[in-house]
Subunit: 316 residues, 2 copies
């Protein structure tokens, strides 16, 4: 089961955090951009090459620190087909370095089309008599707005191919409450109703550690809701965005963990990718040593989360 | 405004229907597949080539009948980077034939990432000093689960680049009600709450015909809800899936129109792409004349929707 592979990797590195790979071209050092543009032109192909080189250096710097990377598909799609090639190459390279890959695509559709998305990211595409994976991520984020028949194909592939999904429950953004915080006639918020669904769906894909490969997304920016949701979805692994650049603190983020110290992974993207120019590391690193800065920031974040987890344990 | 271009095209062909391009490899005639596999190998590249040829023949057969095509991204993503190239080439070819392109991707994310998706499909990607479109669709389907800040970047690009969005409100699938039919404490369904948001958001992108480029998706499989939603979102153009293969009838589908005979476009995918082997046309067409069958089915559908609209008008 994916969730067991994730837990094994988290324990190996004693690090329940993942690095987001959301490579805006602005984040890529000028030297890498210039070289890529000289070789491939100042268009989509050159941009995609620059992003790929940037990602590979980040992966090299992080692969013995973090258990997983989370490429955000939007930042690849904006460079068209060449951008998708960069996504594919990033996933492939991360896997060769032993990292798990969580594709952040928030995909959703009716059942037959959800199956096509699931095939793309988690399953295998059949062409005549052969079957082979298209993007071969380890997990995918998905949106629950269409209900169970839009989720089931993903769950089936989680079981068949040892993959995972993270279902959006309470997202980190400011206006997440506009729909997710609506209160239903039985007095529950929509995010609680979705959490109940995730909990129920999860029983189909249980691993050996008491957790399910049907996980959830709960933003670090909503610590009180996170505590409630942790109680509803006891066996879901929770992917926690919103830490760092979006304002969630370590103390906020660890609200999504269970008492066993497991049950959640915290994501940081910009604070790692752009660490060299952050207030914290400015002066110590240059644009060209962005990967060393990313590594130091990933270690700092790991330690901060460890600390917050141990402090939380003491208060029990 | 996109919505005005859509209305102009609908009036030109007197046809408020769009053809979905969801090209499963099984749908592609053996002769096209074999030729593509011989030239490009029996892998993703060959499959993508087969799909592209299939789509182009459909576009040639339909481009003077329907105002728009709706490629479903999942069916391209399942062939990896090569599949995305087929999507890109399909969009490009459809535009050269004068068709509007509605990319069905149901994209969604927090604001900054929603901007990246919007850039990919509706806007222009900046690379150094140049800006150029990545996929350059005319409209995109989007998911409202994240609320307004996940929608606003798309609306801004609708205004800047004359594009459109269709926000999922009530989807055509069986389990759509699991979340969308939940009743809130003020007695309204979630789909009604989302419809109210769509109506409000739409005022930012009004065209010259009284309609907004912020549209909605409402399945033909829910005619009673469609009538309610039409009343809430008076100025939204409604994209109606679920007609034909999914069970929605013409009478169901026209519930999404306004009294002016405008306000909705009905999609059909499988019933057009696979018309040659349907009960209706079996015997008249062969696999190799799938495009002629698609054309005849598109004309039949157009006439059926026209008829249903005129009968509905009489009942007023």
């Amino acid at each position: 089961m994916f969730v067991d592979r994730l837990i094994t990797a988290i324990k190996k590195y004693d690090n329940p955090t993942v690095a987001g790979l959301d490579p805006k071209l602005d984040y890529v050092p000028a030297a890498i951009r210039d070289k890529a543009f000289r070789a491939h032109g100042e268009g989509f192909r050159g941009a995609a090459e620059a992003i790929t080189v940037f990602n590979k250096r980040l992966i090299d710097a992080l692969c013995d620190i973090v258990p997983a990377v989370k490429p955000q598909l939007a930042y690849y799609e904006m460079y068209g087909t060449e951008g998708i090639r960069a996504f594919e190459e990033t996933c492939r390279y991360a896997r060769t370095k032993g990292l798990l890959v969580i594709a952040d695509g928030k995909r959703n559709d009716i059942g037959s089309t959800a199956q096509a998305y699931s095939t793309a990211y988690l399953g295998r595409t059949k062409i005549e008599t052969n079957e082979s994976p298209a993007f071969d991520a380890d997990a995918l984020t998905v949106n629950p707005y269409l209900g169970y028949d839009g989720i089931k194909p993903f769950i089936d592939d989680c079981v068949s191919y040892e993959k995972g999904i993270f279902v959006l429950v309470k997202t980190s953004n400011k206006s997440s409450g506009q729909l997710q915080d609506l209160v239903t006639e039985d007095g529950k918020h929509i995010y609680e109703k979705v959490a109940e669904m995730v909990d129920e769906w999860g029983s189909q894909a249980m691993g050996q550690n008491g957790y399910s490969s049907v996980g959830a997304v709960v933003g670090a920016t909503w610590p009180d809701q996170a505590a409630v949701l942790r109680g509803i979805m006891k066996k879901a692994y929770i992917l926690v965005p919103g830490y760092g650049a979006q304002g969630g603190t370590a103390a906020d983020a660890v609200r999504s963990f269970n008492d066993d110290g497991l049950g959640a992974v915290i994501n940081a993207s910009r604070s790692i990718m752009c660490a060299w120019k952050s207030e914290r590391w400015k002066g110590k690193y240059t644009e060209d040593s962005f990967d060393h800065a990313a590594r130091e920031e990933a270690i700092r974040m790991r330690n901060e989360i460890r600390q917050a987890l141990s402090e939380r344990d003491i208060s029990h």
